[in-house]
């Protein structure tokens, strides 16, 4: 983990409530896809933990949804402003375990951390399928970006306005894969847990205090003992999760 000041280079809406922000600064603390950063905002006591969508040697891309006062404030931030950021938090996805034909399953604002994962898996020569679930066509983002990486992308929308009508599980039933990675809401996880046929990794969300393991605010029980979502997670392996 590092703390530093990052310069916002872009903050643009992708949909009516989802924004993409790019931050320039030290990314040396990022060691795996699926890690997150914790952003300090003026007037808010606690930081805002946001998953890293993509990163390179000097910049970080995050995608966030406006859900409360903190993210409303984030949406107002202009390019050129600086932000105090804790970088390189959480364990991230383990790329090594992917098999040859992994499927990445994202639900809504759970989609972003899968992007850099997809990039790494494709760089390793894996055949990657991506299943993205949204409520409606106007909420869909990053379908084209995943396709541009070389993944086969499937979209499910609850109202049927794009792709398969229904949920990610309606796509996954017929899909061929030998490992899975997923990030999304709990109802999606519970539905997936019933039908997934392989090992895999789930990335969880929890209300956090610190984001780096000090406060024990986001603890959960696993088959391997108590874990902190922020530090020992957010990614847990399917085999260890107690649902």
């Amino acid at each position: 983990m590092t703390q530093g000041m990052y310069t916002v280079t872009e903050n643009t809406p992708l949909t009516s409530s989802v924004y993409r922000m790019r931050l320039a600064g030290d990314t040396s603390a990022l060691t795996a896809p699926g890690q997150f950063i914790n952003i300090r905002l003026d007037g808010h006591f606690l930081r805002r933990p946001i998953s890293v969508c993509d990163y390179d040697a000097e910049s970080i891309t995050i995608i966030y949804k406006v859900v409360g006062k903190g993210t409303e404030q984030m949406a107002q931030i202009q390019a050129g402003q600086t932000l105090d950021v804790l970088c390189g938090l959480g364990n991230g996805f383990s790329v090594e375990k992917s098999g040859e034909r992994p499927v990445l399953v994202g639900g809504g604002v759970g989609v972003p951390p899968l992007y850099h994962l997809c990039k790494q898996l494709i760089a390793k020569g894996k055949t990657v399928s991506v299943v993205l679930g949204f409520n409606s066509a106007d909420e869909v983002f990053y379908k084209n970006e995943f396709e541009a990486l070389g993944a086969t992308v499937f979209v499910a929308t609850a109202d049927g306005t794009l792709g398969t009508k229904g949920f990610v599980t309606d796509v996954l039933g017929d899909l061929d894969y030998d490992y899975f990675y997923t990030c999304g809401p709990m109802p999606m996880f519970l539905a997936m847990e019933k039908i997934m046929r392989t090992s895999g990794q789930y990335s969880f969300e929890e209300r956090m205090g610190c984001g780096f393991g000090a406060c024990m605010g986001c603890s959960c029980k696993t088959k391997y003992g108590n874990k902190r979502i922020c530090r020992d997670g957010p990614v847990l392996e399917r085999e260890e999760i107690i649902w």
Partner: protein
């Protein structure tokens, strides 16, 4: 050259900055971020007789200038603290550490403290009779002078190291409880623990925290904490560790003027993991600004004249 050294019950510490229990784990994870030997000491995660998972999540709610937690004393239990946590701490911290202990009965407190007393790494006890997040114990001992004195006596009977009793602000007369602890043999008083608070989510129309209520901490509680340190300083003659919203070197000096010999930093660690190091680095310059040569000289300074 200013002197930041203070004496805490016969143990001289380099500076009065102490990360508060529950915001610093067992220290070694913070040692990945900076050399924690710069600290005066730190108070480790509240330890109980048996392992505890704590309360269901969500355990955290944000507030104006602070936060509420209802962690509920999650800890691996005293045996694992001795066999696992303290050896890991020893690799990165060469100073005496403060052992924060909680319990659900007077026997619990005595059992846990007696076991920890044998650990040479431990310099002091901080006995938490003020946790608002557990039922049937914790805070209930801290809300009556008789119960507070009973815990103090039980712990003092089985320990050789200085014992601080950590008091709850959720009482009518904190000075009388501090006084009862002093008379029962406490070597120092530590205050304040968190204020009982809550938040309600307008979307779900339910409390944010699964346990409904929790402990409110952060800069918002600093005036309450200062007032209580000031009151307790008038009531007792043993050292006080002050805390409540501390997040700068100026805050440290303010608490010492109110009567604190040392100062703990709690919620601020969770927002800026480097804050204790930063405060220690800034302290000499802030002392010079206010013409303070020896920190010891200002303890209780606000009471004079």
């Amino acid at each position: 050259m200013v002197n930041t050294r203070v004496d805490l019950c016969g143990i001289s510490i380099d500076n009065p900055i102490i990360p508060a229990s529950g915001t610093f784990g067992f220290g070694y994870e913070f040692a990945e971020y900076y050399d924690i030997n710069c600290l005066g000491t730190f108070s480790f995660k509240g330890t109980t007789k048996d392992p505890r998972f704590g309360n269901p999540t969500p355990r955290i709610a944000e507030c104006e200038a602070g936060m509420i937690n209802a962690v509920g004393l999650q800890n691996p239990g005293v045996d694992a603290v001795i066999s696992h946590e303290l050896p890991l701490l020893k690799k990165c911290f060469s100073k005496p550490v403060m052992a924060n202990v909680s319990g659900f009965s007077i026997e619990d407190y005595a059992y846990t403290c007696q076991k920890l007393d044998a650990c040479e790494q431990i310099g002091w006890f901080e006995v938490n009779i003020s946790c608002p997040n557990v039922h049937g114990g914790g805070m209930s001992f801290g809300t009556s002078p008789e119960q507070a004195a009973a815990v103090t006596r039980a712990v003092k009977a089985v320990t050789t190291k200085p014992v601080f009793i950590k008091l709850s602000p959720n009482v009518t007369d904190i000075a009388s409880i501090a006084k009862a602890c002093e008379e029962a043999g406490a070597d120092g008083i530590s205050l304040i623990n968190t204020l009982l608070g809550m938040r309600i989510d307008l979307k779900t129309k339910r409390p944010v925290i699964a346990n409904k209520m929790g402990g409110f901490s952060g800069p918002a509680i600093k005036p309450v904490a200062l007032r209580m340190v000031y009151q307790v300083y008038e009531a007792v003659s043993i050292p006080i560790i002050g805390m409540g919203g501390v997040s700068s070197a100026e805050d440290v000096i303010e608490f010492m003027l109110a009567g604190a010999t040392a100062v703990q930093v709690g919620a601020a660690n969770l927002v800026n993991p480097f804050i204790c190091r930063d405060i220690i680095n800034e302290l000499p310059a802030v002392m010079q600004k206010y013409r303070i040569d020896n920190l010891t000289d200002i303890i209780g300074g606000a009471h004079h004249g």
